[in-house]
Each structure stands twice: as C-alpha cells, then as structure tokens.
C-alpha cells in the first residue's frame, strides 16, 4: 500500500518540479528534447570496449546536474526500478564476455547510468504538456502525440486505480499480506476495465472542450539566445566526443 502511494506522489512531485524555476527548467522544451535524443542515440552507439569515450560522455549529466541545480539524491529513489536491472545486467556481463569482460562491463554500466540520468533530467525539467507541444513543433503526427499523452495520463490513472483497489481489498482481508492469488484474475480484469473507462471519460472531457489533436497548452515561448547556445554546445560536444 505505502509503496504504491509513494510512487504516485513521486510521479506527481516530478511533474511539479518540471514546472519549477530552475535553470534547466527555463530552457526551451524543444532544445532539451533534441539534446536528449541526440545524446541518447550517440551514447548507445559507442562500441562496448570504448570506455574512454563513454566516460567523456559523462560531461552532460554531470554538468546538467551541477549547473542546472537538480538534486541528485531523488534520482536514485525515483529511478531505481530502472537502475537496478541496468546495474545487474552490467555486473553479469563478465560471465558472457570472457575476453574484455571488465572493460565492457564498465562501459555497459556507464552507458546505462548516463542514459537513465539524461532521461531523468528531461523528465524533471520539462512537463509532459511542454513535451507534447515540442513534439508537435517537430511535426510528429498529432495522433502519435495524443496517444503518447493519453498513455502518460493513463499511467497516473492506472496507478491510482491500483491504489484504490488495493485499499478496498486489504480493508476486507485484514492481516493478509499481498493479494491472494485466487482473486488476481478478477482483480486485474476489473483494474483494466476501470482504468480504460476512466481514460475514456478523460478523453471525452477533452473533446467536449474542442480538442482535435493539437496540443495548444503548455508554455508557448520563442527560442532565446541561451536556448540556441545550449542546443549547439551540447550537440557539438557530443559529436566531437563521438567522432574525434
């Protein structure tokens, strides 16, 4: 119960943080989105024995965390669901790669860590609303962006429905740890139906207010000089590290 409620709260807090006043938050969503995408693509393209290159790629998360004033500690708490498997895969690597096991393990670990960090940085500095708007600016089809946004909303609704149903269940099955496997089936079925129902209502409320696939909310603002500088410096640095 507690774990689940914490997840929902963390989710919400991250959303709120994304609309904060920090230096990273002030950048244009489109600039941040482009930098993140380029960074991730380049990072993952490094060869598994190129430890030096991957190490250099650490510049982005390190600078962003320090200069952008993003606290580091909450990242571990929020991202551990993804970080733990990434780390486990990295650590298990020497058993599969006998020749350069240690080097490829380090490379893999760092790649995973940096990728998670870069994604996290985008998440805590850019709200979903702004992100959808940026995607539309990039001419991503409206239908794709709508679906993405609905999935995101759906995730929140889904977590809340789980929390509600677990509360209802545990109140009537006191002293029982977890949920008995015999009712899993019906519980999961109920959960899907209920969250689908709610997502549909949310969508209805959007269409009733004239929604036709365009995300016109979020903050509209022109590219400023610092946005251009951020975009060019980051992408240039990434390309230099990769190709020189």
């Amino acid at each position: 119960m507690g774990q689940l409620d914490r997840s929902i709260t963390e989710f919400r807090l991250m959303e709120e943080e994304a609309r904060g006043e920090g230096r990273l938050q002030a950048l244009h969503p489109l600039a941040k989105l482009l930098v993140t995408v380029v960074y991730l693509v380049v990072l993952l393209s490094f060869h598994k024995y190129n430890l030096a290159g991957v190490l250099l790629m650490g510049f982005y998360p390190i600078l962003a965390f320090t200069l952008g004033g993003v606290p580091l500690r909450p990242m571990w708490r929020r991202m551990r669901i993804i970080l733990i498997p990434v780390l486990l895969v990295g650590i298990a690597n020497p058993f599969f790669d006998r020749t350069g096991g240690l080097i490829s393990m380090m490379t893999l670990l760092l790649k995973g860590l940096f990728a998670v960090a870069a994604t996290y940085l985008l998440m805590v500095s850019t709200s979903m609303d702004d992100l959808c708007r940026a995607l539309r600016k990039l001419r991503v089809p409206a239908i794709l962006v709508t679906v993405m946004m609905l999935i995101y909303r759906y995730l929140c609704v889904f977590l809340e429905e789980i929390a509600r149903m677990r509360a209802a269940y545990s109140l009537r099955a006191p002293g029982q740890k977890g949920v008995h496997f015999r009712v899993w089936g019906s519980l999961v079925g109920m959960l899907l139906l209920r969250s689908m129902d709610r997502s549909e209502t949310v969508y209805q409320s959007m269409t009733l207010r004239g929604f036709q696939g365009d995300f016109l909310y979020g903050r509209e603002r022109p590219f400023s000089r610092s946005d251009y500088i951020y975009l060019f410096v980051c992408i240039l640095a990434v390309l230099i590290i990769r190709f020189l």
Binding site: R19, S127, M128, R209, G210
Partner: protein, 248 residues
C-alpha cells in the same frame, strides 16, 4: 429562443451479450430550457440523469427523438459548433482536470477554439474570478481539495463562454461549507444550467424548475417549490426529502 429543446428523446444501451435485449435508459423525454434558466434534473440512482446529459452534449447518440442546442440540432456534423455553446461538468472532477496546472486546464477550451494568447488570458482570468479561485491559478491540480477541484472544473467550462452548462451531481462529496459556496457560485453565473442531482436541498436553492426522472421517463416537469412540496409523489419516485426540508 430556448437554449435547449428535447423532443421525445430515447436512448437504450446495447445489451451486455449478443441477442440480449437493450437496456432502455431514457424514454420519451421532452422539455425545454430558456436562455439563462436553471433547471434541476432529479431522480434516484439509475434514473437516467447522466445518460440524458450525455445525449445532450452528443457523447451518446439518441436511438430516437431530437435534441437541439441554441436552435441547432445535435448531430455528428454539428458537434463542433454546438460544443462551443455547451459546457459539461463531470461528476468526478478528476476526469475533467487533466493538465498539470489550473491555468492550463482552464485555458484548454479557449486555445482549442483559436483564441489569441491575450483573449485566452482574459477568458481564464474572468472564469477564475467568477468562481472566486484567482489565487489557485498556478496551483498543481493534484494539490487542490475536492471543493476547489469542483470550482476549477466549472471554470474550465466558463472560460469557453458557454451558454448552457450541464452539471452532473455537482454537490456529491462536498462538505457543507463547500456545498454552500458552490451553490452561491452557481446562482451567480448568468448562463442557463441543467443540474442533475438527487440532492433536493441543493436543487431547491438553485433551480426554478425541475424535471423528475423515473426509470428514464420524465414523470413531471414544473415549478420547483410545487413539485418538491409533494412528498408522496417524490417518495413514489424513489426520492426522499432531507430532514432539513420537512421543517421548512
């Protein structure tokens, strides 16, 4: 001109399984609402209130009869036009508020209808002032209380300049103070309203006319005071007067 006209409206939900009989939820309902009038839609649980509201805004398509809003018949082709005149306040405010801040949610309608940024800001500010929540403008939606959420949900509809507001069980889940505040806000708004509720006290104070639904039928349409004074009639239709009412 009437803002809303219903003419022998019918709706049946499809049966749960193939070959099963459809479930009639709204049967032969006719009534009108004049511009600026407040009308209560009362009935017990399952009487068909929510279904009727969804038919009016075109979320459901009637299986018979006609609905027209501001003189235009509600059909697939006219939905875009009609929805500008209509506002729907959902029973559960969480269904209504889906962006992250109060401001963005209230600005959602105006932006979709092509308002300029200045027009949007003006419309949002006017809507916030009308429900007295100016201070919540930049608040995250999940940090609102139930009462605040309801007011914000009403503002999301007001900002579009709707002439008819449909409210589904607006007073459910509010404490007495928030409920009284909501009542005052509703009374102060000039647009016409159709308020679905089984909270007769609330209807008594906000609506001049009521439509009583029973098993999908409009069994009576008329003056609020007259109908709500008819205790035997109400009880026969699954409605009960609150205690405070009996002594009035």
């Amino acid at each position: 001109m009437n803002i809303l006209e219903l003419e022998s409206l019918n709706y049946a939900y499809p049966g749960a399984r193939r070959g099963e009989a459809p479930i009639a939820a709204v049967a032969d309902v006719s009534f009108q609402i004049a511009e600026g009038e407040n009308v209560g839609l009362v009935g017990a649980n399952g009487a068909g209130k929510s279904t009727l509201l969804k038919l009016i805004c075109g979320l459901l398509e009637p299986t018979g009869g006609h609905v027209s809003v501001a003189g235009t018949e509600v059909r697939k082709e006219t939905l875009g036009q009609i929805r500008k005149d209509l506002g729907y306040v959902f029973q559960d405010s969480d269904d209504q508020l889906f962006t992250s801040t109060v401001y963005d949610d209230i600005a959602f309608g105006p932006r979709n209808y092509g308002y300029t940024p200045e027009q949007t800001r003006a419309a949002v500010e006017k809507a916030l002032a009308a429900v007295h929540i100016e201070s919540l403008k930049d608040r995250a939606v999940f940090r609102l209380s139930g009462g605040e959420k309801k007011l914000a949900a009403i503002a999301t509809v007001l900002s579009m300049g709707s002439r008819l507001m449909l409210l589904d069980e607006p007073s459910v889940g509010l404490d007495p103070r928030n409920r009284r505040n909501l009542m005052e806000v509703i009374q102060s708004l000039p647009c016409a309203k159709l308020i679905a509720s089984h909270d007769l006290d609330f209807i008594y104070d906000t609506c001049s006319r009521v439509v009583v639904l029973f098993k999908g039928r409009a069994v009576r349409v008329g003056d609020t005071r007259q109908i709500l004074a008819d205790r035997a009639f109400l009880e026969a239709n699954g409605l009960e007067l609150p205690l405070s009412f009996v002594t009035r």
